[in-house]
C-alpha cells in the first residue's frame, strides 16, 4: 500500500503532493529530495529508506515520481504502478514534462484520486477512468503572446475559448501531437530495441532484440481490432514455418486482453483496444539475428610524430539502400583520463552536416550524423592532443558505442500485414502503422 505520492521537478519544486493514508508528514518531500541529491555514485537510488518510510521513485520526463510506503510492499507493484501513472498522465495531458504537469495539476489530482484510494490501487484502466475524469486537459503548447490573450492566469481557460458543453464521457484523450479531439485515429507501432556487442575482430559477440507492438488509440469506442502479423512468424526454435526466411522470436507474451484464437493458424491478434496507449505484445530474440547487424566499423588508432592521437573511423551501414538512419550518435569512449588538459580536437568529417565534439565529462568524442543512407560509408579522422600520451594508454582506447534510430525497419523482420477494425467505423478513421528500431547500446570494441 502506498502512503503518499508526489511529483517533484528536477530542481526539487513540489508539483503534486497527495497523502493517501496520513501516516507520514509532508516533510517527506523535502527529505526525499535531500536524500536523492546526496547519493554517492555507487548507491542505487530506486529504493531509499528513512525512518520506517520507504521511498520508491522513478524518473520520467525529467521529473521525480515518488511513492512512499510504510508496509513492505512489492517493489515490482510500486514501480509498475508509477510507470503506469506516468503513462496515464501522458495519455491525459498529451505529453510528460514539468510544464504539462504544472498546467494540469487539477487533472492529475483527479486522476490520483480515482486511481488510488487509501493507498490501494483501484484501477488504472483508461476505460474505467474515462467515466470519472471530468477535468479537461490544458495542452502545454509553447505560450506565445497571442495565446496569452485568451488563456487565463495560470493556464486556466477563460470563457472565450470555452465553447463545448461537457463532453466528459466521450472526451478523447489528447494526442501527443497537440491536436485536440475530433480525429478518429489509431496508431500501431512496432518498436524494437536492439543491443549489440561486436568484438574487436568483427565477430558478433552478443545481439539482443526486445520488441513490442504498441497500440495507441484515440477512438472513443472501438469494438474489435484485428492485427495480422507475417504468416511465417514463429516462436521458439522448434517451430519454423514456411521455407523462406522465417521471422523468428525466442519468447513472446501478450496483453491479457488479446484473444489468440486465430493466432496459431493465421497469426492474427484480436483485441478491443481501450483509449490511450497499451502494449499488446512483447517479444525477445537473442543472439540469432536474421540479418547482419546494421553497422560495421573499421578503425585505426595510432600516435603521430607530434604526440597526437589519431583516430580514424570508417562506418558502413549495411542496410538496404532505401532505408536510412536518423540521428546516429557515435561515442568512442576513450578512457584517457587527462581530458581536461586537452588542448584541441581537430576533425575531418566526410560531410558538412555531421558534427563532432569532445565531451570531457564523459571522456568521449561525440560524433553526430543526422542522416545516414543505407549502403553508404562515412569516415572521420579525429586528432586529439593528449599530454603525456603513452603507448599503454593507446591500447586502452575503449569501445565505440552507437545510438541510432531506424525508421520503417524492424530487425526481426516482423511486419503487420493488415489492420482491420470491425465494425467499420463511421466517419473518417485513420489507421497508422509505424515501425522503428532504435538502440542505445550498440557497442563495437576496438
Amino acid at each position: 500500500m502506498i502512503s503518499q505520492v508526489f511529483i517533484l521537478s528536477s530542481k526539487g519544486d513540489h508539483l503534486i503532493y497527495k497523502d493517501f493514508r496520513g501516516e507520514a508528514g509532508c516533510d517527506a518531500v523535502n527529505k526525499f529530495y535531500e536524500m536523492v541529491t546526496t547519493l554517492t555514485g555507487d548507491q542505487p537510488p530506486v529504493v531509499m529508506k528513512h525512518k520506517e518510510l520507504h521511498y520508491v521513485h522513478i524518473r520520467q520526463g525529467g521529473l521525480y515520481w515518488v511513492a512512499t510506503t510504510k508496509a513492505d510492499s512489492s517493489p515490482f507493484t510500486i514501480i509498475e504502478f508509477l510507470n503506469r501513472l506516468t503513462a496515464l498522465i501522458k495519455d491525459y495531458c498529451g505529453c510528460l514534462s514539468e510544464k504539462s504537469v504544472r498546467m494540469n495539476f487539477a487533472l492529475i489530482y483527479e486522476v490520483l484520486d480515482e486511481v488510488v484510494d487509501f493507498g490501494y490501487i483501484q484501477t488504472t484502466s483508461t476505460d474505467i477512468l474515462k467515466n470519472f475524469i471530468q477535468t479537461e486537459a490544458v495542452s502545454a503548447k509553447p505560450l506565445s503572446l497571442f495565446d496569452l490573450s485568451n488563456v487565463g492566469l495560470f493556464g486556466a481557460d477563460t470563457q472565450q475559448n470555452k465553447v463545448a458543453p461537457s463532453v466528459a464521457a466521450t472526451r478523447p484523450i489528447m494526442s501527443s501531437r497537440g491536436e485536440q479531439g475530433g480525429k478518429n485515429e489509431i496508431f500501431v507501432d512496432v518498436i524494437e530495441r536492439i543491443s549489440v556487442v561486436i568484438g574487436a575482430n568483427g565477430v558478433l559477440m552478443k545481439a539482443d532484440i526486445e520488441g513490442e507492438i504498441r497500440v495507441k488509440c484515440y477512438m472513443p469506442s472501438c469494438s474489435e481490432m484485428r492485427i495480422g502479423l507475417n504468416e511465417e512468424f514463429s516462436i521458439g526454435k522448434s517451430q519454423l514455418r514456411g521455407y523462406g526466411a522465417a521471422v523468428r522470436v525466442d519468447e513472446c507474451s501478450f496483453h491479457q486482453a488479446v484473444r489468440l484464437d486465430e493466432f496459431d493458424t493465421y497469426r492474427i491478434l484480436k483485441l478491443c483496444p481501450s483509449q490511450g496507449e497499451q502494449t499488446v505484445m512483447q517479444y525477445q530474440l537473442c543472439d540469432d539475428l536474421p540479418t547482419a547487424p546494421p553497422f560495421r566499423l573499421f578503425s585505426s588508432i595510432e600516435r603521430d610524430t607530434g604526440g597526437r592521437l589519431l583516430i580514424y573511423l570508417k562506418l558502413r551501414c549495411d542496410l538496404p539502400p532505401k532505408r536510412s538512419v536518423l540521428h546516429l550518435n557515435n561515442n568512442p569512449a576513450l578512457p584517457l583520463f587527462s581530458y581536461s588538459l586537452f588542448s584541441s580536437l581537430s576533425q575531418e568529417l566526410s560531410s558538412p552536416d555531421q558534427s563532432a565534439e569532445l565531451q570531457p565529462q564523459n571522456k568521449a568524442v561525440h560524433w553526430e550524423i543526422p542522416r545516414f543512407p543505407g549502403g553508404a560509408q562515412l569516415s572521420a579522422l579525429f586528432k586529439l592532443e593528449v599530454p603525456g600520451l603513452s603507448s599503454a594508454s593507446l591500447q586502452e582506447v575503449g569501445s565505440i558505442s552507437l545510438s541510432f534510430e531506424l525508421p520503417k525497419y524492424t530487425c526481426t523482420g516482423l511486419q503487420i500485414r493488415f489492420l482491420r477494425l470491425s465494425p467499420i467505423q463511421p466517419g473518417a478513421s485513420q489507421r497508422w502503422v509505424r515501425y522503428v528500431t532504435h538502440s542505445d547500446s550498440y557497442t563495437i570494441r576496438i
Binding site: H14, H54, A106, D117, F118, Y120, G152, S399
Partner: protein, 815 residues
C-alpha cells in the same frame, strides 16, 4: 513571482470567492478555486480560506466539487469545527442520484481524517455497502478501513465485518479486493482476514477477473492459506502456473512468491517454478524502465543464491549497455560474475575487461573487483561437476586475469590503480601461489598514490613480498619520509607492519629507516592506535628477532579459513523466499554495492577484509589468545557488524526491547585498564561495536556495546530473521544503582541467574562479596555487570555473546 506572496493573494482570493458575481458565474468561480489549489500545492498556506471553500462545496459542478474536496481534505485537521459544516453537504451528496457524486462524497467524508466526525460517517457508509453502483461499494468498503485507522481503539461492529466477508462475493472484482484489504486492516490484531478453504478457492477462481493490482494483492493474501491435502495443493499450483509466465511483472513476482511459500516442503517444485519464471524475469531485466530493470536484477541475484545454474546460458543478457546508469551496471556485473562457467569464462572476462575502464569510478572498481573472483578457484566451485577439469581451466584463466589486472596498472589512473592494488592484495591473501606474478607487476612501481585504501594495500603487499621486490625498501623509505604529513592512521599502522616485515628479510637496508619510523610514531604520534602499535613492535624487537619472526610471519593462514569466501554452497530457497518480492532485496543492493559478496563473510574474513589495515588480526592484539577468542564465535553463531547504530537508535531499542530476551550476568573481571581505544579495537576484532564508554578512571565505569548475531546452524533459520541485534551494557559493579539491581536480581531471578552465569563463579561467593562491598579497580578482582538485550533469540545466543565478551575483557586486562 508575485502570486506566491502569501497574504495579499489570500486576501484577494477571499474577496473573489465571496463575490456574488463570481459565485453565480461558475466558470469564474471554478477558476478562482483553481488558483487556490495551485497555491496550496506550491506550499502556500491558504487555510484561511476554509470557510469560503466550504461554501463553494455546495455546487452541482462536479469538477468544482472535486477541487474543493482536495482543499478540504488537506486542511480539515486545521479547522475541525468548520469541517462540521461540510458534513451536511456531504451527507446530502451521499443520497444524490448520480453514483459518481455519491462515491465522491463518501470517499472524501472519510478522507477528512477527523475522528470527531466518524459518528456522522458510519450511517452513509453502511448504506454505501448496499449501494447498487459498484463504484460506491468500492469506496464504502475502504471507508471502514479508514474509520478503523482513525479510531484504532474502537471495535468495528461485528455486523459490518460480517457484511464485508459477504461482499467478498460481490460481482465487482475491485469491491472484492477492497474487501480483502479492508478486512486485513480491521482484523489486523487477529492476524488479518481468515482464509479458509471456501474463501481461498473463491479467490483463486475469481483471480482472472481482477486487474494486475488486484491479482497481486490477492496472491499475497493467499500466502497465508495452507492447503489441506497434496491434491488440493497441486490443483492450486496448476491453476496458478500460467501466471508465472505473465508479462506483468507484479503478477509474476507475486505468483512466484506464493509458489515458494506453498511449496516450501517441495524443493523440486520450487526449482521448476523458478525455471518457469526465468523468462519473465529476464524480460523484466531488459525492460525499458530502468527502475524495473534494477528491481529485476536484484531479485535475480536472490535466485542465483540458490540456483546458480539458473541463468547460465543467458549470461549475455547481463552485459552492460553504454547508456545505462552506474547502479544498473554494477548490479549487472555482480550477476555476471555469478554466471561464469567453463564455457563462457573467456568471453565474460573480455567483457569485464571492457568495464574496467568505465567513466564512472565506482563501476570500474566494481569490475576490477569482479575479476578477482575468477582465479580463486571459483569456476570449479560453482559447478562441482566439472571440478576435475578445473585444475587446467582455472590455471589458464588465472594468468589471463592477472594479465588484465597488471595491464590496468599501466594506465596509471589513480582510482584504477588503487582498486587493482586492493584486488591483488585480496588475491594473494587467498591464494599465495600468485605471489610471483604480483611481484613482477610491482617490480617497476614508481607512482604516487593519494587514495588511503590503495596505499594500505600497496604497503601490505610490500611487507609480504619485501624479500622478493628489490625496490621495496626504497618505496617504504618514501613513505617513511612522508610520515609526518600522513593523515590516515590506517596507513600508518600498515606502514609499521610492512616496515617490520621488510626488516626481517632485509635488515641492512631497512634498519635505519625503521628506527626513524618507530621513533616518530612513539614520540610524536598523536593517534593512540598507531603509538600503541609502534610501542608494541619496539618491545617485541627487544624480545629478539625470533619472536618477531614468529609473531609477524606465522600469522598468515589463509587456505583453511577461506573456504566460505571462495565457493559457497547454494543456499536453500527458504533462506530468501520470505524477502522475495519485498523492498528488501533492493535495499540489500544498496548496502552491498561495491562489496561483491557480503553474505558469505564469516567473522574471521570479515575482520580481515572489511578493515584492510588489520589484515592480520594477530598483529593487532598479539597477546590475545586467539583460539579462545575465535572458538566461541565460530561455533554455531557468528557475530557481525552488518549495520551500524546511532546512539539515539541504541537508546530507543534499549528501551523497546523490554519484551525480548533479557539477560544479566556478572563477569569476574576488573575494569580494563588499557586505553579505551585499544579496548574498542579488540572488541571490533570479534565484531562487537562499542558505542560509548566512560573515561577509564571515572566511577561508575560504563560501556555500551552492540552486535548482530547470525545463526548459521540453527534449524529455525527460515523463521527467525538472519540477523538479530544484541545490545549490551557493561557496568562496573561499584555504584549504588548497581547494588540495588543486584539485590533485586538475587531475589527475583535466583534460578535463572545461576543457570546463565555458569562461566562466572558460584552464587554464594557473589553474595558474600556484595555484603562486604565491592573491591575497587585497584583490587584486580573487580566485577562487571553485563546486561544484554535481544529482540528475538534464545538464551544460548546471549550466553555465547557473553563468553566472547568475557574473553576479550580478560585478555585486555592481562594485556
Amino acid at each position: 513571482m508575485p502570486y506566491l506572496g502569501g497574504e495579499e493573494t489570500v486576501r484577494e482570493l477571499r474577496r473573489a470567492l465571496s463575490n456574488p458575481h463570481i459565485q453565480t458565474d461558475h466558470l469564474r468561480y471554478r477558476n478562482t478555486i483553481h488558483r487556490v489549489i495551485r497555491l496550496m500545492s506550491q506550499g502556500v498556506d491558504v487555510s484561511g480560506l476554509f470557510s469560503e471553500m466550504v461554501k463553494a462545496c455546495a455546487t452541482g459542478d462536479i469538477v468544482q466539487k472535486k477541487l474543493v474536496y482536495v482543499f478540504l481534505c488537506s486542511y480539515a485537521s486545521v479547522n475541525p469545527e468548520l469541517s462540521l459544516l461540510v458534513i451536511n453537504t456531504l451527507r446530502k451528496d451521499c443520497s444524490d442520484p448520480n453514483p459518481m457524486v455519491r462515491s465522491l462524497a463518501l470517499r472524501n467524508m472519510c478522507n477528512l481524517r477527523l475522528p470527531g466526525l466518524c459518528e456522522y460517517v458510519e450511517q452513509p457508509l453502511t448504506a454505501g455497502l448496499k449501494d447498487k453502483a459498484a463504484c460506491v461499494r468500492r469506496v464504502a468498503v475502504l471507508g471502514w478501513a479508514k474509520i478503523h485507522a482513525l479510531l484504532p481503539n474502537t471495535e468495528i461492529d461485528a455486523a459490518v465485518v460480517n457484511e464485508l466477508y459477504g461482499l467478498l462475493r460481490d460481482p465487482d472484482p475491485v469491491v472484492m479486493v477492497n474487501c480483502l484489504r479492508a478486512l486485513e486492516e480491521i482484523l489486523e490484531e487477529e492476524g488479518g482476514v481468515a482464509i479458509n478453504k471456501p474463501i481461498a478457492h473463491h479467490l483463486l477462481n475469481r483471480l482472472k477477473e481482477c486487474d494486475v493490482w488486484g491479482q497481486s494483492e490477492v496472491l499475497s493474501v493467499l500466502q497465508r492459506y495452507r492447503p489441506r491435502s497434496e491434491d488440493e495443493l497441486f490443483d492450486i499450483l496448476s491453476l496458478l502456473d500460467p501466471a508465472l509466465l505473465s508479462h506483468h511483472v507484479p503478477i509474476m513476482a507475486a505468483t512466484l512468491r506464493l509458489f515458494l511459500s506453498l511449496c516450501s516442503m517441495l524443493p523440486a517444485v520450487c526449482v521448476s517454478a523458478l525455471e518457469r519464471a526465468r523468462g519473465p524475469l529476464l524480460a523484466a531485466a531488459g525492460s525499458s524502465s530502468r527502475e524495473l530493470r534494477y528491481a529485476a536484477l536484484c531479485h535475480i541475484q536472490l535466485l542465483l543464491r540458490s540456483e546458480p545454474g539458473l541463468m547460465g546460458e543467458h549470461y549475455k543478457r547481463f552485459y552492460c549497455g553504454y547508456a545505462e546508469p552506474p547502479y544498473i551496471k554494477q548490479s549487472k556485473i555482480q550477476v555476471l560474475v555469478e554466471l561464469v562457467n567453463d564455457d563462457n569464462v573467456a568471453v565474460v572476462l573480455d567483457e569485464l575487461k571492457g568495464y574496467c575502464t568505465d567513466v564512472n569510478t565506482e563501476t570500474s572498481q566494481a569490475a576490477i573487483n569482479a575479476i578477482e573472483c575468477f582465479p580463486a578457484g571459483r569456476i570449479g566451485e560453482i559447478r562441482p561437476v566439472t571440478r576435475e577439469t578445473h585444475g587446467s581451466i582455472g590455471r589458464s584463466y588465472d594468468d589471463r586475469c592477472l594479465g588484465i589486472l597488471t595491464g590496468l596498472l599501466e594506465l596509471k589512473q589513480e582510482h584504477i590503480t588503487s582498486a587493482v592494488l586492493q584486488t591483488l592484495r585480496d588475491l594473494v591473501w587467498v591464494s599465495p601461489q600468485y605471489g610471483d606474478a604480483v611481484c613482477s607487476a610491482l617490480e617497476k612501481w614508481e607512482d604516487q598514490l593519494q587514495d588511503t585504501q590503495g596505499r594500505g594495500a600497496l604497503l601490505w603487499l610490500l611487507g609480504v613480498y619485501g624479500d622478493r621486490l628489490s625496490g621495496a625498501p626504497y618505496i617504504l623509505e618514501d613513505f617513511i619520509d612522508g610520515v609526518r604529513s600522513e593523515v590516515s592512521a590506517e596507513v600508518k599502522t600498515e606502514l609499521l607492519t610492512a616496515t617490520l616485515r621488510v626488516f626481517l628479510s632485509r635488515p641492512a637496508e631497512t634498519q635505519d629507516m625503521m628506527g626513524r619510523l618507530l621513533q616518530h610514531c612513539i614520540e610524536e604520534e598523536l593517534d593512540m592506535c598507531v603509538r600503541d602499535q609502534a610501542l608494541l613492535y619496539y618491545r617485541l624487537l627487544h624480545c629478539g628477532i625470533e619472536d618477531v619472526r614468529r609473531v609477524l610471519q606465522c600469522g598468515r593462514r589463509s587456505d583453511l579459513s577461506l573456504g566460505p569466501l571462495i565457493g559457497r554452497p547454494p543456499e536453500p530457497i527458504s533462506q530468501w523466499a520470505s524477502i522475495f518480492n519485498t523492498l528488501e532485496p533492493l535495499m540489500l543492493g544498496a548496502s552491498s554495492a561495491g562489496n561483491s559478496d557480503p553474505s558469505t563473510l564469516t567473522p574471521y574474513t570479515l575482520t580481515s577484509h572489511s578493515e584492510p589495515m588489520t589484515s592480520d588480526p594477530h598483529l593487532m592484539t598479539p597477546k590475545l589468545k586467539d583460539p579462545d577468542l575465535t572458538a566461541p564465535a565460530c561455533s554455531g553463531q557468528c557475530l557481525s557488524l552488518s549495520s551500524t547504530l546511532s546512539p539515539e537508535e541504541f537508546e530507543r531499542l534499549w528501551l523497546q526491547t523490554e519484551k525480548g530476551e533479557f539477560l544479566e550476568a556478572y563477569v569476574m573481571c576488573p575494569v580494563p585498564r588499557c586505553s579505551p581505544e585499544s579496548l574498542q579495537v579488540a572488541l571490533q576484532l570479534v565484531n562487537i561495536q562499542t558505542l560509548a564508554f566512560t573515561a577509564p578512571n571515572k566511577l561508575p565505569w560504563k560501556m555500551y556495546l552492540y552486535t548482530h548475531s547470525s545463526h548459521t546452524l540453527t534449524p529455525h533459520s527460515s523463521t527467525t530473521p538472519p540477523n538479530t541485534l544484541i545490545l549490551a551494557e557493561v557496568l562496573q559493579a561499584g555504584g549504588d544503582g548497581v547494588k540495588k539491581v543486584k539485590e533485586e536480581l538475587i531475589e527475583d531471578q535466583e534460578n535463572e541467574r545461576e543457570e546463565s552465569v555458569k562461566e562466572g563463579e558460584g552464587g554464594e561467593e557473589r553474595r558474600g562479596e556484595m555484603s562486604g562491598g565491592v573491591g575497587g579497580e585497584d583490587g584486580g578482582k573487580g566485577e562487571l555487570l553485563v546486561r544484554m538485550r535481544q529482540y528475538t533469540g534464545e538464551k544460548t545466543t546471549l550466553t555465547e555473546f557473553l563468553s566472547v565478551l568475557t574473553t576479550v575483557l580478560n585478555a585486555q586486562h592481562t594485556a
